[in-house]
Amino acid sequence: MTALLESQQLCKSFVLGNDNEYTVLSDVDLTIEPGEFVSVMGPSGSGKSTLLYNISGMDRAKSGRVLFNGQDITALSEEELSKVRLTGMGFVFQHIHLLKNLSIFDNVVLPAYLALEESHDQIDQRAEALMEQVGVAHLAGNDITQASGGQLQRVGICRALINDPDILFGDEPTGALNSKAAGEIMDLLAEINKSGTTIMLVTHDVRVAARSERVLFMLDGQIVSEKYLGKPSENGTERKEREESLSSWLTELGF
C-alpha cells in the first residue's frame, strides 16, 4: 500500500539575528499510512510543531522531500500547494484560529466555498451534518465570541473536515481546553479516525497520545524513537493501560 504521507530526509533551519543557523529538523524520515492515527511527542524545542508545519506544506523545508498521495509537494508552486492543502488536508490548531469576522457556520463552510468542488447547497448540507455530528449545530448563526473553548474547537474540527480531507493535522488541539472538553475532543477525533480519516497530532499530553495507534518521540530535530500502541478498543477499556505503557516508555526516554 502506498503511504499517504512520507517525508524523506526533511531538514529545516532558522537563521537567527547574528546570522547563526539553528537546525530544527535534521534529516527526518517519516511514513504515515492511510487511516493511521499518529501522535508526535517530545520536549519543547524538539521540532515537533515544525515537523507538523513542514510536512503539511504550511512551511517550506530547507531540504528533503514530502510525498503526499505519491506527489512531491515540496516541488509544487505556491498556488498548487495551496490547492493540495485546501482539498487534501485539514488542520486543527491549539488556539483554534477561527476568523473573527465570520459567523461560526461561515467559518466552517469557508474552505469548501473556496474549493467549490460541490454546489453551495451541498456544502451547506454537509456543514450542517458535520456540526450536528459534533454537537454544535445550534451555534451556527453565532459569532465566535458566543461559544466556549470546547465548542469552538469542535467548530474547528468541522472546518478541517468540510472538504473531506485525506489527512487531519492537529497542533496541540486540546492544549487550551479543560480536561472534560479535551476528553470530548479526543472522543471526536477517535470517531473521525474510525471513519477512515488519517490523523497526525502533535501533543505533550500522554492521555491524548494514548488515543493514537503510533507515537513518535522527537529530540533535537530528529525522531529518536517510536512506539506502536495499536488501534484502541471500541469501548476504550484499556485506555489506562495504554497511558501507563506510554508513560513508562517516555520515562525510559528521559522525558
Binding site: 508545519y53 512551511d59 495551496s82 492543502r85 488536508m89 484560529h97 476568523l99 461561515d106 474549493a115 467549490l116
Partner: protein
C-alpha cells in the same frame, strides 16, 4: 538616548510608512509656509509699487473730444482732489506694430495698445528696478508682459509702420504699469520719448485719454466717483479706481497662493488621517507589549509619552524641513510677483509668518497624536496579555453571510464584505479616493465647458457664426452704417444683429448718478440663456448682467432709473444674464442710443448654409478693416485663451496630483492593513487560500472603495462642484455655470486611469506583505 534608539528601531521596522507620513507633513508645511510667504510678499510688493508709481486713485478713460480747461476748473473746485492730470495715449493698431524679430504684426493680439510719454505728476511707469523710466529719443519701454509673451530682451527692436515710414525703437527698459500690468488687463502702454511721441502723432492721430485724479483722502474714492459721474465731464469709456488696480494685480498670484494654502490644508487632513491609521495599527500590533508595560506598573502617561515622542520628533523634523525648503520654493512661486510687481524690503512679518504657519502644522500633528493616543486608556493589561488585541470594533451585518455572496467569487465577496464591516477603518482611503476623483473631475468639466462654443453664453452674447467688432475712431459711426448696409445686401448672410454699446447715466437708489454701459439692438436674433427672466422686448425694459443686478440689488420686475438728456426714465428689469466680459458690468435694452456716448459697435451674423466661413471672414477682414472679425470659437478663445491655457496646466497638475495621491495613500494603507490583518491572513493561508486569493481580496477592497469614491466624487463634482465653480465665477459675472460634460473623458478615461493606478499599486504593495506572512510562524506565535 533611549528614545533615539527606539525611534531608529521603529523607523527601520516601518521605513516606507514612516517616510510616507513624513512626506505628507513635510509637504503640508512646505506649502503653507510658501503660500503664506507669497501672500505677504504680494501685499508688500504691491504697496511698494503703488507708492513708487504714485498710482492714481481714480481714472476715467475717454475716447472723444475733451476740454482740459473744464476738467481743470472742476478739479480745482473739488475739495477731494489733490492732483489731476490727463494722459494722452496714441492708440496703436496691432497690425502696424512689430515686436522684436517677428515679421508678423500684433494684429491678432487681444491687447489694446497705446503709446504714451512719462507722466510728470504721478502714475509713473517704472523699470524692473522700480525706478521711474527716463528715455531718450529712439528708445522705448515695453510692458513687462511682452518680455514673457514675446520673449523680448533689452536691445531688441520695436517697429511701428506709420503708413508713410517705419519708426524703429530700441527697447531700453521693460516697464511696470501699476494700472495695466497684469496679463488679464487688456490694455497696455508703451513708453516713448516726447519727441518720438510728437513725430508719431503726425502719422497717427487716434487718441484716447486717461483722466486721472489723486485724492486727498483715498477712503473717499467711491464718493468722488459718484461726483464725477454726476458731472458733465468727459466719460466715454470705463472708469476704474485703485481698488480695481489692486485686484487685477493680485488676482493671479493671489489665486495661486489660495490654491497652495488650500492644498496644504488638504494635505494635512490626509496626513492626520494617515497618522491616525498608522498609530492605531501600531497600538494594535504592540497591544501585548503595552499590556505588559501596564502590568508591571508603567503609568499610562509614560507609555503614551514614548509613542508620542516618535511622532513629535517626526512632526518637528518634517515641519522644519518643510519650512526650510519653502525658502527655495518661494523663489519659484514669487517669480511672477517679482517680475510684474517687483520686490519690497523684507518685513518682520514676511520672515515670521511663514515660520508661524509651518509651526502650526507641527502643532496640529502633535495635538492630533495626543488625542489619538488617548486610546491607551482603553487597553486593559489583562485583556491585552490574554488576547493580544484591543478588540477592533466591527459592524455585525448578519445579512452579509457567505451564502449571500454566492454569485460573486468568494474572495471578491470577502473583500467587499470587509469594507462594509470595517467602514471606519476604510474611511481614510474612501476620503482620499473621493478627493482625488473631485480634483480630477472638476477641472476636466471646467475645461470642457470653457472650451465649448456654448461658453459664449457666459459672455453676454448669443452664439453666432461671425462677430465683427468696430473700434472707436472718428468715423466709426459711418463705418458701422456701411458695414451693416454691406452685410444686409450680402446674400451669404442669413441673419445679422447690429448692436451698439453706449454709456447711459443711471440714478442709484440714494440719488447718486453713475454711468451704465447699455447694449442696444435686437437680442431675439441670437438669444442668450438668461439666469432669470427674459430678453428686453419693450423700450421700457432692461436686462442687467448678474454683477450689475447684484450691486444695484435689482430683481426681475424692479425698476431702474436712467437719466437721458436730463429726463428721468423708468426701466423695468426684464431679465438677468451672465457676462464675464467688461468687468461683468453690462446691460441690454432696446431703447435708442446717443451717438455721442457710443463706446463700441458689434455685428453678429449667421451665414447661409452653403457659405464658407473662413472665406467670408477673410473677405470681411479686408473690407471692414480695421474692424476685428472673429468666429465664435476664436472670440471665446481670445477672450478666455489665457484662462484656458492656465486651466489646461491646472488640469494636468490635478490629474497628476490625484494619481500620485492615490498611489501614496493606497500603498500606505494597504501595507498598514496587511500588517494589521497578519493574523487573519495567516489563518486563511493555513486553510488553503493562495497568495492570489488573498491579493484578490485586497484588490477588491481597494477597487470597491475607489468605485464608491469615484461615484460620490462625480456626484459631488456635478452638483456642489458645479455650484462651487459658479460661486467663484460669479465674482467675474457668471453666476450659474452649467458644466458641459464630455462623458468619455469624465466618466471613461480618467476613472479608468485611476482604477488602473490603484489596482497596480494595490498589487505591488500587497505582494511582499502577504508573501512574507509566514503561516507557521504566525500560527505558532
Amino acid at each position: 538616548m533611549i528614545i533615539g534608539r527606539m525611534l531608529r528601531k521603529d523607523f527601520l521596522r516601518k521605513k516606507l510608512i514612516t517616510i510616507v507620513v513624513f512626506a505628507f507633513i513635510f509637504l503640508s508645511a512646505l506649502l503653507v509656509a510658501s503660500g503664506t510667504n507669497l501672500i505677504v510678499e504680494l501685499s508688500n510688493s504691491l504697496n511698494a509699487l503703488f507708492t513708487r508709481a504714485n498710482t492714481p486713485h481714480f481714472v476715467q478713460m475717454h475716447a472723444g473730444p475733451l476740454d482740459q480747461a473744464e476738467i481743470d476748473s472742476w478739479a480745482a473746485a473739488n475739495d477731494m482732489v489733490a492732483d489731476q492730470q490727463t494722459v494722452k495715449m496714441i492708440t496703436m493698431d496691432g497690425s502696424n506694430l512689430y515686436l522684436g524679430e517677428s515679421q508678423n504684426p500684433e494684429e491678432n493680439s487681444i491687447m489694446d495698445i497705446s503709446f504714451v510719454t512719462q507722466n510728470e505728476g504721478f502714475d509713473f511707469l517704472l523699470d524692473l528696478d522700480n525706478n521711474i523710466i527716463q528715455l531718450s529719443p529712439g528708445e522705448i519701454a515695453v510692458p513687462v508682459y511682452y518680455s514673457q509673451q514675446r520673449d523680448l530682451a533689452i536691445g531688441d527692436k520695436v517697429r511701428v509702420n506709420t503708413g508713410a515710414e517705419d519708426m524703429v525703437f530700441a527697447i531700453t527698459a521693460f516697464s511696470r504699469d501699476s494700472q495695466m500690468n497684469p496679463a488679464i488687463a487688456s490694455s497696455k502702454r508703451f513708453l516713448i520719448h516726447e519727441q518720438d511721441y510728437a513725430n508719431l502723432r503726425e502719422y497717427i492721430d487716434e487718441t484716447e485719454y486717461l483722466i486721472e485724479f489723486l485724492l486727498v483722502d483715498d477712503s473717499q474714492i467711491s464718493t468722488f466717483a459718484s461726483a464725477y459721474q454726476a458731472s458733465d465731464l468727459p466719460k466715454i469709456g470705463p472708469a476704474v479706481d485703485q481698488g480695481l488696480f489692486r485686484i487685477l494685480n493680485t488676482l493671479s498670484d493671489g489665486l495661486v497662493a489660495g490654491v497652495v494654502i488650500l492644498m496644504s490644508l488638504l494635505l494635512i487632513v490626509i496626513a492626520i488621517l494617515s497618522l491616525r491609521f498608522t498609530l492605531l495599527a501600531t497600538i494594535e500590533e504592540d497591544t501585548r507589549e503595552i499590556g505588559v508595560m501596564k502590568a508591571i506598573g508603567i503609568a499610562r502617561s509614560d507609555i503614551r509619552r514614548i509613542y508620542l515622542a516618535k511622532y513629535v520628533v517626526m512632526g518637528a523634523a518634517a515641519a522644519l524641513l518643510g519650512y526650510l525648503t519653502s525658502l527655495l520654493l518661494n523663489q519659484v512661486l514669487s517669480a511672477n510677483v517679482l517680475l510684474y510687481i517687483g520686490s519690497a524690503s523684507k518685513s518682520v512679518l514676511q520672515t515670521a509668518l511663514p515660520l508661524v504657519a509651518a509651526s502650526s502644522i507641527f502643532l496640529i500633528v502633535t495635538i492630533s497624536c495626543v488625542v489619538i493616543l488617548r486610546r491607551f486608556n482603553r487597553i486593559s493589561a489583562v485583556e491585552a496579555l490574554r488576547s493580544g488585541s484591543v478588540g477592533e470594533s466591527m459592524r455585525s451585518i448578519p445579512m452579509l453571510n457567505l451564502k449571500r455572496g454566492r454569485a460573486l467569487n468568494i474572495n471578491a465577496y470577502l473583500g467587499v464584505r470587509d469594507v462594509l464591516q470595517r467602514t471606519r477603518l476604510y474611511g481614510l482611503l474612501a476620503f482620499v479616493f473621493f478627493f482625488c476623483a473631485v480634483i480630477i473631475i472638476i477641472p476636466i468639466h471646467f475645461l470642457t465647458t470653457i472650451q465649448s462654443p456654448t461658453f459664449i453664453s457666459y459672455m453676454g452674447t448669443g452664439q453666432s457664426d461671425i462677430r465683427i467688432d468696430l473700434r472707436q475712431s472718428e468715423d466709426v459711426a459711418d463705418r458701422f452704417d456701411s458695414t451693416v448696409a454691406y452685410l444686409t445686401a450680402d446674400p451669404d448672410v442669413a441673419k445679422l444683429s447690429p448692436l451698439v454699446t453706449s454709456q447711459f447715466t443711471i440714478m442709484q437708489s440714494d440719488g447718486t448718478l453713475e454711468t451704465l454701459n447699455i447694449e442696444t439692438g435686437d437680442f431675439s436674433l441670437f438669444p442668450l440663456d438668461y439666469v432669470k427672466g427674459t430678453v428686453p422686448q419693450q423700450e421700457n425694459e432692461i436686462a442687467l448682467s448678474f454683477l450689475n443686478a447684484g450691486e444695484m440689488e435689482k430683481q426681475i420686475g424692479d425698476t431702474v432709473t436712467l437719466v437721458i438728456e436730463g429726463q428721468e426714465r423708468e426701466m423695468v428689469v426684464s431679465g438677468i444674464y451672465q457676462d464675464i466680459t467688461n468687468g461683468g458690468r453690462t446691460a441690454k435694452a432696446t431703447l435708442p442710443y446717443n451717438p455721442q456716448t457710443v463706446i463700441w459697435y458689434t455685428v453678429n451674423l449667421n451665414l447661409a448654409s452653403d457659405a464658407n466661413i473662413e472665406e467670408k471672414m477673410l473677405e470681411y477682414s479686408q473690407i471692414f478693416d480695421p474692424a476685428r472679425v472673429t468666429d465664435t470659437a476664436s472670440f471665446v478663445s481670445q477672450t478666455v485663451g489665457n484662462t484656458v491655457q492656465q486651466l489646461k496646466t491646472v488640469t494636468v497638475v490635478t490629474v497628476v496630483v490625484g494619481l500620485a495621491l492615490s498611489v501614496l495613500i493606497t500603498s500606505l494603507f494597504m501595507m498598514m492593513l496587511i500588517t494589521k490583518d497578519t493574523n487573519q491572513i495567516a489563518i486563511m493561508r493555513s486553510l488553503g487560500f493562495s497568495l492570489r486569493h488573498i491579493r484578490t481580496q485586497y484588490l477588491t477592497r481597494a477597487l470597491f472603495l475607489l468605485a464608491f469614491g469615484i461615484v460620490l466624487g462625480t456626484l459631488f463634482s456635478n452638483t456642489l462642484g458645479q455650484q462651487l465653480v459658479s460661486v467663484v465665477f460669479s465674482l467675474q459675472g457668471a453666476s450659474r455655470i452649467r458644466f458641459v460634460i464630455d462623458p468619455l473623458q469624465a466618466y471613461g478615461i480618467y476613472p479608468l486611469l485611476l482604477m488602473f493606478t490603484v489596482a497596480v499599486t494595490t498589487i505591488l504593495s500587497t505582494r511582499s506583505g502577504i508573501k512574507e506572512t509566514n503561516i507557521a510562524q504566525m500560527i505558532m506565535e
